[in-house]
């Protein structure tokens, strides 16, 4: 579904993503994890054509990711790291603007608002919403057109447990309906719960990739069957000690 081929992104000669290759299967939830500054957001920005790779190529559903590929943008949805909504406009207006761009009917706006419990608040201005509610609008906006692939950059960070749960359940739901999902997060429990496979990024490199269960098993065996969590593996990969 998604394929990165020897992708490198340099900013002023500093490689922020360094010769990275992996593929993400259709219908899976792929977790892109790694410490702050590892290159996760940069990777997502390249997969969504907001940044051009310095070297390498990315394909989604057989199409080369490029700025002018209208068909590509009909198939992907993006939840950005920061809530880039029209602050002065209402929730409904924010959704309506994007619904129009995808040629999506008003009934679909009602549907996603229902999914995120936004219906009662639809006329509120976005600037008056708390972080969690902005995040709901942000995700609702990204799924309006039922994208085949959904990118989520830290969708649950800084939210209360109930909102996190709502979002995780929604991710599971649309994944079961066939949406391929790429998610970044710093919550390793979330990764263990949601993701089928993961890519560990560390200092721009892909330190580890593969099926999540297999990776955990592999580290378990290497540590003589010790009960090892993803957080432990994270610490090992980033040079921390196994505690």
């Amino acid at each position: 579904m998604i394929e990165l081929k020897q992708v490198t992104k340099r900013f002023k000669n500093k490689a922020v993503v360094n010769n990275v290759s992996y593929s993400i299967k259709e219908g899976e939830i792929f977790g892109l994890i790694g410490p702050n500054g590892a290159g996760k957001t940069t990777s997502i920005r390249m997969m969504t054509a907001l940044l051009e790779p310095t070297e390498g190529e990315i394909y989604i559903n057989g199409m080369k990711v490029a700025k002018n590929n209208k068909k590509l943008f009909e198939q992907i949805g993006v939840v950005f790291e920061l809530p880039n909504l029209y602050r002065k406009s209402s929730i409904r207006k924010n959704l309506k603007i994007f619904a129009d761009l995808y040629g999506v009917k008003d009934s679909r706006i009602d549907e996603v608002m229902e999914d995120f419990q936004l219906t009662d608040k639809q006329d509120m201005r976005v600037e008056k919403l708390s972080k969690g509610w902005k995040q709901r609008v942000l995700i609702a906006r990204a799924v309006l057109h039922n994208p085949k692939v959904l990118f989520l950059d830290e969708p649950t960070s800084g939210l209360d447990p109930n909102t996190q749960e709502l979002i995780r359940r929604y991710i599971e739901k649309i994944n079961q309906n066939g949406t391929t999902i790429v998610i970044t997060t710093h919550d390793m429990n979330e990764v263990e719960r949601l993701c089928h496979s993961v890519g560990f990024m560390y200092q721009g490199n892909l330190a580890k990739k593969g099926n999540l269960k297999e990776i955990i098993q592999e580290y378990k065996e290497a540590n003589k069957g010790a009960d090892i969590s993803l957080a432990n593996i994270f610490a090992i990969i980033t040079g921390g000690e196994l505690s």
Binding site: L50, K70, V78, L101
Partner: protein, 228 residues
Amino acid sequence: MVVLRQIKNEFKELVVNPAILGVIILPIFMSKVVTYAMKGIEAGFLLLCVWILFAEVMVGIMLTGPNLIEERESKTFDALLCTPLTYGKIIVSKCVPILICSLFSQIMVFVVNEGINSKLPSLLGIMLLGGTVFVEIGAIIGLLIESSKTGSAISAMVMVALYLVVSVYPSLPKWTYSIFMILPSVEVVEVMNALINSQGILWKEVGLLSAWFVILTGAIFFIGKKKY
């Protein structure tokens, strides 16, 4: 189709904002007041052209620049780029509604001062070309400047400089005109003035203004290629 829908959205967004309506209406209102107050003084037509220019510069630069910066600053620009809209279409959907407002303001300046007469249709071409050039200048400011604060200040500076220059050059030695005529605001006023006074089309000035249009359009695409 997508662009048309977005143009409609952007247009609605503009006309419900009282401050923006103010920018569109101010030139119309001021032109009437000032021309009335200065009645009897010569150069009435030149004054009218200067007011039409005022509408063009004010609406074009002051609305386009800050509007685009806000879109980029809030990163909603990125969100738009991830939809079927392309960079070029986003710019067009921002600029066309403002251009419509600019034309409205310019035509109204003419109508409230002169009424509807046969000279108005002959001015529409230059109103459109001039209006487009100033919207493009605003767009370039909007694409290059990073913060709203700086952007508003620079938009205001460029606007005032381009506007005030037209009240300076007529009183300078004739040879300086060959320098001043490079400026789009001087071209607009001269071409309009000649049209209103039935002196025909000033092809040289029209050519230079068209050159501005081509250069600025190229610059907008170049910035897009580099940055987005």
